[in-house]
């Protein structure tokens, strides 16, 4: 009797699930509303970000200047990132050399390896890879730090004590990343070239002087300057997105995670967009 009842219950629940599925299938509508909502959210975010940038430039030129905090952020962003940037830079140069050497050898152009690697690193790979690493390390750290400060009311505490938290927290961090990322890129590029030198010497034998004379001979002004200029924009984007996401974080621990994550995702995406624009402008200028 009990067994029969449970079988009947099972059948009833199965039928009701099928009916529900059919109902859902017939009532399905393309999610136009959610698309419109996403577009609205996108434009709202763009507007808020624009306002955030305008506030940054306003606060940047108005005293008082938080010089001590700015130096501290330069130390955190710049000095503390040196080991990571250095190691990845060395590996980048080494790997690029080892990978490109056989192909170059096929064309009998093995002696061009230092020059080719140098141009690739200085123009493109060095700035972009270093900026992406910094977006991961620095962007997420700024996003999480400011978001947790917001969640624990530390930003509110600054505000009620009559101190401008935007100037103290945001302006100093964006300025530090804008100035430190180019320095980190120069450092990473230099280490990359040493990595490349090591790569060349795994199978071949070339002196350091000859290697660097080939590197310098293959580079010109138009390789160095545009690559350096775009790193300032990379740094600005990393600091800006980290601060924006952290400063406007939702309350709660979930908000901290979301802010850190989206600081990295949006920051990395912006780096590629800036790089694309920079390449277009550079090629327009050089033609």
């Amino acid at each position: 009797m009990i067994h029969k009842k449970s079988v009947l219950n099972h059948k009833v629940s199965l039928i009701s699930r099928v009916i529900l599925a059919i109902k859902e299938a017939f009532t399905y509508e393309p999610k136009v509303d959610s698309f419109i909502y996403s577009v609205k959210i996108f434009f709202t975010e763009v507007t808020l970000l624009t306002r955030f940038i305008i506030t940054f430039f306003k606060e940047l030129v108005h005293p008082p200047f938080e010089f001590k905090e700015f130096l501290k952020q330069c130390y955190v962003v710049g000095y503390k990132s040196l080991p990571l940037v250095g190691i990845t830079g060395f590996i980048m140069g080494l790997v690029l050399t080892i990978q490109s050497r056989p192909t170059m050898a096929e064309f009998g152009a093995e002696s061009w390896v230092p020059g080719m690697v140098a141009v690739s690193i200085i123009r493109e790979i060095g700035p972009v890879i270093t900026a992406l690493i910094c977006a991961g390390k620095i962007g997420s750290s700024i996003g999480a730090e400011l978001a947790s400060m917001k969640v624990t009311e530390q930003i509110d505490a600054m505000e009620v004590s009559g101190i401008n938290p935007y100037k103290y927290l945001v302006v100093t961090r964006i300025l530090a990343t804008t100035l430190m990322i180019p320095i980190l890129v120069i450092f990473s590029d230099s280490i990359s070239l040493y990595g490349s030198y090591a790569g060349v010497n795994i199978t071949g034998d070339i002196s350091l002087r000859l290697f660097f004379s080939q590197v310098i001979a293959s580079l010109d002004f138009m390789d160095l300057i545009p690559a350096l200029i775009k790193t300032f924009f990379f740094g600005f984007a990393i600091g800006l997105i980290g601060c924006y996401k952290g400063y406007n974080s939702d309350k709660g621990t979930e908000g901290v995670g979301v802010s850190a994550n989206s600081a990295v995702v949006v920051g990395s995406l912006l780096i590629f967009i800036i790089d694309m624009i920079a390449v277009q402008i550079t090629s327009l200028i050089s033609t």
Binding site: T152, Q154, V160, G162
Partner: protein, 246 residues
């Protein structure tokens, strides 16, 4: 409750605040006299914290008038507001100590508003504020090394360093054991005595209210539903109000 001759340091009239469709404060009217301790009671989510955040304009009110130390708070620009905020101390529920700084740096932080102050004067003020909360030995510790009660005391010391005229306490005893709660409540009384502050204390803790309150206002459905001394409200015939005292 307050005689017309008493000097008011804070006056809230017809204050309203909504978040989306939810109206948190419908029509709040209250006054705070000089040297008075006003406790605001209410259920969680009744808008008590929103009310004191509106007073310092951490949250912008939708409507109503806020007069703080004779100034119309809602019409001040940023510089004027910052100047006014220096006269108001705010103790946050979580104490809101800056994690990346030591206790000394936390206490020195509000003094940035006086850039001409000498290092010696700063040290004296920091030491004095820490002595007042009985935690001078914690001066070089980080907030992560402090207990909940110590954090609250350091938070209080940080707000006192600018010698505010009005103190706003957001649930000062929440999350503390009864003994530490009592100590913090007595500390609030000591602060009033020493600094001659007027205070608004948001609390659920009736033991704290009993020690600190000169007057209690009960918030209910976005309105001030009852007002009186601790004893008056304890004997209220309204069951809902009476339930706070059980």
């Amino acid at each position: 409750m307050i005689s017309t001759e008493t000097k008011l340091v804070l006056e809230v009239k017809h204050l309203q605040k909504s978040f989306g469709n939810k109206t948190v404060l419908k029509n709040i009217n209250l006054t705070l006299a000089k040297g008075e301790n006003l406790v605001i009671l209410g259920k969680s989510g009744s808008g008590k914290s929103v009310l004191i955040k509106c007073i310092v304009r951490l949250i912008e009110p939708d409507a109503g008038a806020l007069t703080v130390l004779g100034e119309n708070c809602t019409k001040l620009d940023n510089n004027e507001l910052n100047a006014l905020r220096k006269k108001i101390g705010f103790l946050f529920q979580s104490a809101a100590l800056y994690d990346s700084m030591t206790v000394r740096e936390n206490l020195e932080f509000p003094l940035r508003v006086s850039p001409l102050m000498k290092e010696k004067e700063k040290n004296e003020l920091v030491n004095e504020a820490l002595e007042n909360v009985g935690l001078l030995e914690a001066i070089d510790k980080k907030p992560s090394e402090l207990s909940g009660g110590m954090r609250k005391r350091i938070g209080l010391a940080r707000t006192l360093i600018l010698k505010p005229e009005i103190m706003l306490y957001d649930e000062p005893t929440t999350g503390l054991d009864p003994i530490t709660s009592k100590e913090v409540s007595h500390l609030i009384m000591d602060v009033r005595k020493k600094y001659n502050t007027s205070s608004i204390i948001i609390s659920h803790d009736m033991a704290c209210a009993k020690i600190t309150a000169d007057r209690i206002i009960v918030l209910r459905d976005g309105l001030c539903s009852a007002e009186g001394t601790y004893d008056e409200l304890k004997h209220s015939k309204d069951k809902w109000i009476h339930s706070f005292f059980e």
